[in-house]
């Protein structure tokens, strides 16, 4: 009897391994970039982008960045298809989402999508803590950030930034303040080589190109964002 139960456990465990290996989710930056640059300028409507419009509650920057991450995870570049997939909560979707960042229905509310889906600071907090999560789902690795060294913020290590990375910007960072929070989320959609002529920090930063919503923009240089504190994260499953 014990032997039979052990065999059953092995069979069940093998089944789960088989299912999880079939899902085989990974973050594909080129797909995410394609989603961002082709859809950043679409209005929120059932015919073009059916995701919920949260411009009335802080703006769509993080909402759009999370659509982009999901696009890179699920390999879908069309907003309508991506939305339908997320609403279906299929096994593939469940493999890349978790209780902290999900999107389940097209109305605003914490049961339809988490606050990390909608807000820059909650998503940033999720990103920073995601490596310690015990549950499955998307995680984000810190690629580079502006770090406080001897009372000043050190610049980003630009060589660490890749297309498809997620950027969090704090426009009013105060050194020593305990209540600093990020204000904006964007997607890195191009990384260009540095020229001999890029003599200032701003010019070096401008080789990193961002796409985002709120004010809908593409190909905006990171340097032109004029944010003192910047954090770059890379999604993975």
């Amino acid at each position: 009897m014990v032997n039979f139960m052990n065999k059953s456990k092995i069979v069940i465990a093998s089944f789960f391994v088989l299912v999880s290996s079939c899902i085989n989710a990974a973050y594909t930056p080129s797909t995410a970039v394609s989603y961002a640059v082709n859809n950043y300028n679409l209005p929120y409507s059932t015919t073009s982008n059916p995701f919920i419009n949260v411009s009335g509650v802080g703006g769509n920057c993080t909402n759009f960045a999370n659509q982009t991450i999901s696009s890179g995870l699920l390999g879908i570049t069309n907003p309508k298809t991506l939305n339908q997939n997320l609403l279906s909560q299929s096994a593939a979707v469940k493999a890349v989402q978790n209780t902290s960042v999900f999107y389940k229905c097209n109305t605003v509310g914490n049961t339809c999508q988490t606050i990390a889906w909608r807000g820059a600071q909650p998503m940033f907090t999720y990103s920073a803590n995601s490596q310690n999560l015990q549950s499955k789902g998307v995680r984000l690795n810190l690629a580079t950030k502006t770090t406080l060294v001897n009372g000043t913020l050190s610049p980003l290590d630009l060589s660490k930034i890749r297309v498809g990375d997620i950027v969090y910007l704090d426009f009013n960072f105060v050194i020593g303040a305990s209540n600093n929070s990020v204000d904006h989320t964007a997607v890195v959609t191009a990384v260009n080589p540095e020229s001999w002529y890029d003599v200032t920090q701003k010019m070096k930063y401008n080789n990193i190109k961002l796409t985002y919503q709120s004010d809908n923009k593409t190909n905006r240089g990171l340097g032109d964002m004029n944010a003192p504190a910047i954090y770059i994260y890379r999604p993975f499953v």
Binding site: P43, D183, S195, Y197, D198, D215, D224
Partner: protein, 346 residues
Amino acid sequence: MKKVIFTLIICLIVLISFYLYFKPDKNYSLSDLLQESGKDSGENTTKTSISTDSNSTDITSQLDSLKTFIENAPFKQEDTHSILAQNSESTQKYLNEFSNFIDKNIMKNSSLSLDQKTKILWSMFKEYDWLGDDNAFKAIIKGNLMYLRNPSLIPEITKTYSSISSLGEKSANSRHDLLEILNSIDISSQNPNNKLVVDTLRSELRSINSRSEAQNLGDMVTKILYEYGESTGIDVIPYIIQAANNNTQASLSYVNNAFKLTLLENNSNQLQSLVQSNMSQSTRDDLNKVISFNLKEDGGVPISNLSKESLSIIDQYLDKEFSNNPKLDENIELKQVHGKITSALE
């Protein structure tokens, strides 16, 4: 006495230098830029009044209501930020009401045609006296113009673009906005105005001067030029390379984008056209830098994504480069990329 005068003069020079270095950049609205470009070219260009430019009562009343909405805001338009979260909650609320007002009265107004909607928003965008370099109201108008995706706006955009491009750096942000509106319009190969875009952007490639201007505009100009070139059957690669040869500050941006565009589409004909172009030595150096930057181990374009035809073209180009230029042997990164391409072809 002489020492005092000398010291005073030095202090004055230092103060003026500090002022010039730290003074905030002047904000230029599109209407200001158009007026200035008119003066520069000796034309008698005056700001067109929105109301007289519009021949329909509907359009005029909509324009007036938009202007009133902005003028009645309990804050200055120049104090707003285009990224919503950078504004106070009360400002965000008012900006959201402005968005909803446009959505209800213009975008979803069934009594207005697409062209009428476009005319209202374009008139506001182009002719309203926008203040501040990050104006949220202007960004909302631009966003809605992008949503309309109206191809009949192409001649207006290209004309406005050409008028302000001679102003250089000071018109760069306005040109970026115009490129974004243009970029939102779906390209139809049947549209006779496609040639206007190609002509305008070819000229733009030549008129970009500084490195920062090239950084701000180069990516979008080359991308849109490339796409419209494809739709009109015009090979734009020679124009891009010629512009790169003539401007070393912009060359890296132009060559990088042309190279990536041909690779992303695996367009071997355009890639062949690029590597066989009449490049100056500095443009050739930039192309070599671009190849190693994009195709290196953790570069932006995985070698595995490239077709055999594309790989073969790059391989032959690099074979020739390494045999013609012995100094390239010191370029370890490019040698590694070349090795990987050769392996991928085996």
